[in-house]
Amino acid sequence: MHLPDVDWEVTRPFWDGCRRRELRVPRCRCGTYVWYPQPRCPTCRGREISWVRVSGKATLFTWTKVYRAFLPGYRPPFVTALVELVEDPKLRLATYLRGVEDRKLSLGLPLEVDFEEAEAGIVLPVFRPAE
């Protein structure tokens, strides 16, 4: 399985947050969420961008159930998905869906973040149906 380089400075606050069981994303001083991380705000061109904690609530944007291991180390079948964080529809994350029966999968399904330790020091944010 492909593990992220959690020390890469551009996304390091994201992975540091996950280790503390917090979902964090970059936001410009003007209020715009800047996702994926980039050095300038697309709205105001400012560079005062800091990482803020978000609620971890989301809705299901799309998904696919993968039946084949396209690279070594992945164990299909699994459901990989895009979810939209409730703070802003531009905050679309690739993630794993856990705990949803296939027949319950539908657009807009309310979800919330959960954290899984993949390896010592590497924690992945995954999503489950909201309570």
Partner: protein, 379 residues
């Protein structure tokens, strides 16, 4: 309308593996295109070869005998670059930087990439950190996500995806230089295993070796050459926000065809009603449906019903991908699609000829970029 034309086309044999270098493959396709046009390869003085890095481009030029006096450029990347190549050729010819422009794509992914489909994504750091750890890779997974949302929003069905695959295989069975020449039945489609829901193997483009090329020159010059010229009526380009990260697109289910299509048609001075056949960038079956919508052949969400009932097959209202396209003929970053369109407009396609083909439309795609090319028989 432009004042340029395509005057020669060439292809290598297409196969899963040819075991040959990409420069050799490109060279063979280029020489074939020159022979087809009746032009000496040493007359080529412009190159659009987006696959070729610096060294490969110069090696190709040395082999063609045009070393040291050629112009090279590309406006877009990969498949989009192939289809926008005539626009670059027009600029080069109009500004007297070149007079005969070679557009060539060469691929050896069948030999090089077996079992290594994730590499291009893993090489992009942002994808490696934010997408691959969640299994959101490779292309098949990302496009399956788009197809799934299209199905959920618009009611598009698996059998409608199948209709695209079946048409491709039917057309490829009529094309000598196609890799998958056996027709496909709906039962075979339905019983094939899912790879990434809703895609099966036949929803995905081929991974193969091969090259395809075409030559562009002024219409004036074209009319003195061996074959009847195929006029470039218009080229359009379009780019959507999100760049390489398709999952970030605000308009997730639209390609740049929504921009490139109308631009190409406006330049050509025609409407979709004038188009006799289309060759669409078909990396996955769902992309044919999406582009039919984005180009305006039907409304957004109505691409599924549009491809039913043989409408996109030879003999139907709008034949799509008449050589089998990249799903069944070969994957050559749209270059085989341009070659096929030229042959259709010359009436050279034998059993798969679209009767009375006067105007054809070709598309190329890569990530955020899209290009549309409108070609016509010279009168």
């Amino acid at each position: 309308m432009t004042s340029i034309a395509i005057v020669g086309v060439g292809e290598t044999r297409y196969a899963k593996r040819l075991g040959r270098d990409i420069v050799e493959l490109a060279l063979e396709a280029a020489e074939e295109a020159a022979r087809d046009a009746g032009i000496d390869v040493r007359e080529i003085d412009g190159l659009v070869a987006p696959w070729a890095e610096y060294a490969a481009r110069h090696e190709l030029a040395r082999c063609l005998g045009i070393d040291g006096r050629f112009f090279a450029a590309s406006s877009l990347s990969s498949g989009a670059a192939t289809v926008s190549a005539p626009l670059v050729a027009e600029w080069a010819i109009g500004s007297k930087l070149a007079s005969v422009v070679l557009c060539v794509q060469a691929i050896a992914w069948g030999s090089e990439r077996a079992g290594d489909v994730g590499r291009p994504h893993a090489a992009m750091k942002m994808k490696a950190v934010l997408e691959l750890p969640f299994g959101w890779y490779p292309q098949i997974v990302q496009f399956a996500g788009m197809a799934r949302r299209h199905m959920e929003l618009y009611g598009t069905t698996e059998d409608q995806l199948a209709a695209v695959a079946l048409a491709a295989r039917k057309h490829a069975s009529l094309c000598e230089n196609a890799i998958l020449r056996t027709p496909l039945t709906l039962e075979e489609y339905r019983s094939a295993p899912l790879l990434a829901d809703p895609f099966r193997a036949m929803d995905c483009c081929l991974v193969n070796d091969g090259a395809a090329a075409f030559l562009v020159t002024s219409l004036e010059r074209a009319r003195d050459l061996r074959k009847r010229p195929v006029r470039v009526l218009g080229v359009g380009q379009g780019v959507v926000p999100g760049g390489e990260f398709s999952n970030l697109r605000p308009d997730y289910l639209s390609t740049g065809a929504v921009f490139s299509g109308p631009r190409a048609l406006a330049r050509a001075g025609i409407t979709l009603a004038d188009v006799d056949f289309v060759e669409l960038y078909d990396n996955f079956t769902s992309m044919v449906i999406e582009q039919l919508e984005d180009l305006g052949f039907c409304k957004k969400g109505e691409g599924g019903p549009f491809v039913e009932g043989g409408r996109i097959e030879l003999g139907g209202e709008l034949p799509v991908n008449t050589s089998g396209g990249q799903l069944a003929q070969a994957f050559v970053l749209s270059a085989n699609l341009v070659v096929e369109a030229v042959r259709q407009l010359r009436g050279e396609c034998g059993p798969r000829q679209v009767e009375g083909a006067e105007v054809g439309l070709v598309t190329g795609y890569t990530g955020a970029e899209h290009a549309t090319l409108v070609l016509a028989r010279d009168r």
